[in-house]
């Protein structure tokens, strides 16, 4: 190549072509009406106060692809019959739906640690909330940056 070349191209320019499959396109308006992150959290806690601490949310801050993001939630708890984590919920800020997953644990879990893989539509905040046997709620949040995969296919 002779001399520096600068190329700027819009995403819509990248996604054309042919093939058999599916694409992700704009959504109908109805989908926009999702509860806010705070509403979703209130739905889970019943409006009880959220405490900081105890919960460790492990998620890479910069993601290569939002389709499969590894998350691990670790909650400090003795996990005895009297004192354990009952539920761990994950919520997001900007997907079409705020819920991600709710995990149900108990004393037989031994350790309050859960991992999964989740989808994140765009750069946003993710929140993990643990509910303990004493009825208290503990949380941790993380913000993630989702980068765009290069050379995707359109399939329209």
């Amino acid at each position: 190549m002779s001399g520096p070349t600068s190329i700027r191209l819009a995403r819509r320019d990248l996604i054309f072509g042919a093939g058999a499959g599916l694409v992700v396109l704009t959504l109908p308006r109805a989908v926009l009406a999702r509860p806010t992150l705070d509403d979703a959290i209130r739905g889970f806690t019943g409006g009880k106060a959220l405490n900081d601490g105890r919960v460790k949310l492990d998620i890479p801050p910069l993601l290569e692809n939002g389709n499969a993001v590894g998350v691990t939630i670790d909650v400090e708890s003795p996990m005895t019959a009297e004192d354990h984590v009952r539920r761990i919920a994950l919520f997001n800020e900007k997907n079409p739906q705020a819920d991600i997953a709710i995990f149900h644990l108990g004393p037989r879990s031994g350790r309050a640690r859960v991992s999964s893989r989740i989808r994140l539509a765009t750069s946003q905040t993710v929140v993990a909330i643990a509910e303990l046997t004493d009825g208290s709620f503990w949380s941790s949040r993380a913000s993630v940056i989702v980068t765009l995969a290069a050379c995707i296919e359109d399939l329209s």
């Binding site: 694409v23 499969a68 149900h104 031994g110 640690r113 859960v114 989740i118 989808r119 994140l120 399939l155």
Partner: protein
């Protein structure tokens, strides 16, 4: 229905050990938020519930939403209590449940 699933659980453990279990099932987890080539929305089709039982008792479960990745992967822990069967059950939007099992020897 037998699941197309991959389970990672120890075959043996000492009584009282905390063991890690990982379970992944083949499923596209269609979100219900995507359009097909014809402009029609593709209907939601996900695994919405996962239950793990050990020696017949439920030890872990999960409610899943469309934001869980295709081929849902879940790792969790349990205390090795007795030799027996660990059963994994995934239920889809269609109401169908797929299962897989793993045997564990505890001494």
């Amino acid at each position: 229905m037998t699941a197309r699933a991959l389970i990672n659980a120890p075959k043996t453990a000492r009584k009282g050990d905390i063991i890690e279990i990982r379970a992944m099932i083949a499923h596209k987890m269609e979100t219900g938020y995507r359009q097909g080539p014809n402009g029609q929305m593709i209907p939601r089709d996900i695994i919405n519930r996962f239950v793990c039982t050990y020696g017949g008792a439920e030890i872990f479960s999960a409610d899943l939403f469309p934001a869980v990745s295709a081929n849902p992967f879940i790792a969790f822990s349990t205390v090795a209590t007795e030799s027996g069967t660990i059963t994994f059950a995934w239920t889809g939007d269609d109401g169908q449940t797929q299962t897989a099992t793993a045997e564990i020897a505890v001494n």
